[in-house]
């Protein structure tokens, strides 16, 4: 399960618009440096940025 799928599992109310590639409030990124996907931007108006523990449990 990748980061996007974990976030959807954690917050089922998230929509494609939240992840819109140019104007979304959430940006996921992978710099191809072996560290994997990460949250580069979290500006969702109501949902808090999940913790590593929440993502690990998702």
């Amino acid at each position: 399960m990748n980061l996007y799928e974990k976030l959807i599992a954690l917050y089922p109310s998230l929509t494609d618009e939240d992840f819109h590639p140019t104007r979304g409030t959430i940006t996921l990124q992978n710099d191809s440096d072996g560290k994997g996907d990460y949250i580069a931007k979290w500006e969702h108006p109501t949902l808090p940025k999940p913790t590593d523990e929440q993502l690990g449990a998702a």
Binding site: N2, L3, Y4, E5, D16, F19, P21, T22, T27, L28, Q29, N30, D31, S32, D33, D37, A40
Partner: protein, 187 residues
């Protein structure tokens, strides 16, 4: 037509010839050491602000992309890199050592599945220009981005990123996937 003949050190001579022109004309040489270039001077004699740098990179393998995640494309094959300014092994970034304006082009080919496909040229870690492409079920899926970008010649760098809303997608290697830049004007 008038001319000045300068004798060579050992033999021969160089003639500086003035064409037939009306009025008085002046050629002013700079007060510095340098080389006068001619129309047949080799490219190696040209100043760096004119001749370089430029690179072109591609891929020799596919690369998987997570859904809705901007992912740096690993352009790991150098077709050329005239000034050794492109890193094709670790950071996959171009950090030119000559300040100026660079024409930058990027294109990536995804698998042919209906969905949104994007590519973006990042400058210093942030999206600088982004191109979006929607592919139908039988359409192609090769977003491309093009930009004229100022680079300071020391710390500025550019990278190429890809994005798709489709699950289990990959960027293909091949002639439809490339990243290149060339200096078009010095600072």
């Amino acid at each position: 037509m008038s001319q000045i003949n300068i004798a060579g050190d050992t033999s021969g001579s160089i003639a500086v010839v003035a064409p037939l022109v009306a009025g008085s004309n002046t050629i002013t040489l700079p007060a510095s050491t340098g080389t006068v270039l001619t129309s047949v001077s080799p490219a190696s004699d040209l100043p760096s602000s004119i001749k370089g740098p430029t690179f072109r990179a591609s891929k020799n393998s596919t690369q998987s992309i997570s859904t809705s995640t901007w992912t740096k494309i690993q352009f790991n094959v150098e077709d050329w890199d005239t000034n050794s300014n492109y890193d094709n092994a670790t950071n996959y970034r171009f950090t030119p050592t000559v300040a100026g304006y660079y024409q930058v082009d990027m294109q990536i080919e995804f698998n042919n599945v209906s969905g949104n496909y994007l590519c973006s040229i990042y400058k210093n870690g942030s999206a600088y220009i982004t191109s979006s492409f929607y592919a139908g079920s039988t359409g192609g899926s090769t977003p491309s981005a093009h930009a004229l970008i100022y680079m300071n010649g020391s710390t500025d760098y550019i990278e190429g990123y890809g994005y798709t809303t489709v699950t289990s997608q990959s960027v293909y290697n091949g002639t439809a996937t490339y990243f290149n830049a060339a200096l078009v004007r010095g600072a």
